[in-house]
Point group: C2
Chain length 206, copies 2
């Protein structure tokens, strides 16, 4: 594509490096910014630079934070529960359910031999240390990783490592998603949800 | 949605102001930038600021440009043809067809009473001046506006204003898009393409 100016070409090239944004969308975004006040571009630009330069990772739970001590230490949560997740969006997603009141531990990725990510690239050692140093305060570790091959591999690896620490290890339930139609559920999910069927509890709606 | 840090909340808010980008996509983009080198955020940020602060509009054709004189004056194009378009993406789209070798005139929008855009907010007066001052060099003005109600209104307004200048006024052909299936073409397009049928030219493939 030929652009009428070098400035717009540079902007389109930089914007289209973002995931899921192609050249046409990038052009549309660039032209949108051109039509707005200068301050909107300045605000966007500052927010991005600040995010990249000032973001810290909590040294305990490794969640992204404004400082190296996130609220995880002071928060009044259930210290006996620790939920292991891949990354920050998972923390946000789980917090939005309001079903979990324990603490989080962010791995910063999952084991993926194809992408060259091994156990030592993730916050697994600090997880083991955290459980060990809690002196039994952490009673249950919930593995909340995506139900993919990489996620399962990572869960298995972590579970193996946690075994000697005598902590309860659980994983989030897998099955037919609520609101989903049985007919359109894939065979593997449906098959597992039958194999892992549970007693129907007539007193609760879950 | 609750974010784990103020920095990421600010970034998500700013990114999601862009058209077509919601909070979830914004979060994904912000976390992507966090995982990249600091230089990618810097480059993106600089490109956006440069675009917004340094972009000029050519004083003749009003296309966005690095300077106030774009290449339109020096380019070796057909001076007798002037193509009127709504905005820069249209110029890029038409140039990519390689079917037009004349000059462009960018209106900077179209007449839209709902959005409060009247003829005086657009580069229409400068278009009339440009045609008038060409002393007959511009022989044909092609109105290449979108076939919407606003586009048609704008075309009609411009055509009325151009009439006294004795210049040939044309508009781009409308009809069934190439590769489109008749069956799925909307009634108005199909109806017009029948009403405006043309002689089949056996010597050409168009």
């Amino acid at each position: 594509m030929q652009y009428p100016s070098k400035l717009i070409e540079d902007a389109v090239n930089e914007i289209s490096k973002l995931p899921g944004i192609g050249k046409k969308t990038a052009l549309r975004l660039a032209l949108y910014l051109l039509k707005q006040d200068e301050s909107s571009t300045e605000n966007l630009s500052t927010a991005l630079l600040d995010l990249r330069k000032k973001t810290k990772y909590c040294r305990i739970c490794h969640i992204i934070s404004d400082s190296e001590d996130c609220t995880c230490e002071s928060a009044r949560r259930d210290t006996s529960l620790l939920c292991v997740v891949e990354d920050t969006p998972d923390v946000i997603a789980i917090q939005n359910t309001a079903q979990f009141l324990g603490y989080f531990h962010v791995l910063g990725g999952i084991i993926s031999p194809i992408q060259g990510i091994g156990p030592n690239d993730l916050n697994i050692n600090s997880l083991l240390e955290r459980v060990k140093n809690s002196d039994g305060a952490i009673k249950e570790v919930i593995l909340a990783l995506s139900p993919t091959m990489e996620g399962d591999t990572t869960s298995f690896y972590i579970a193996k490592k946690l075994q000697p620490l005598h902590v309860k290890i659980t994983t989030i339930a897998r099955g037919v998603p609520i609101g989903g139609e049985l007919e359109y559920t894939d065979e593997i999910t449906l098959g597992r949800s039958i194999a892992q069927r549970r007693l129907y509890d007539i007193t609760s709606d879950s």
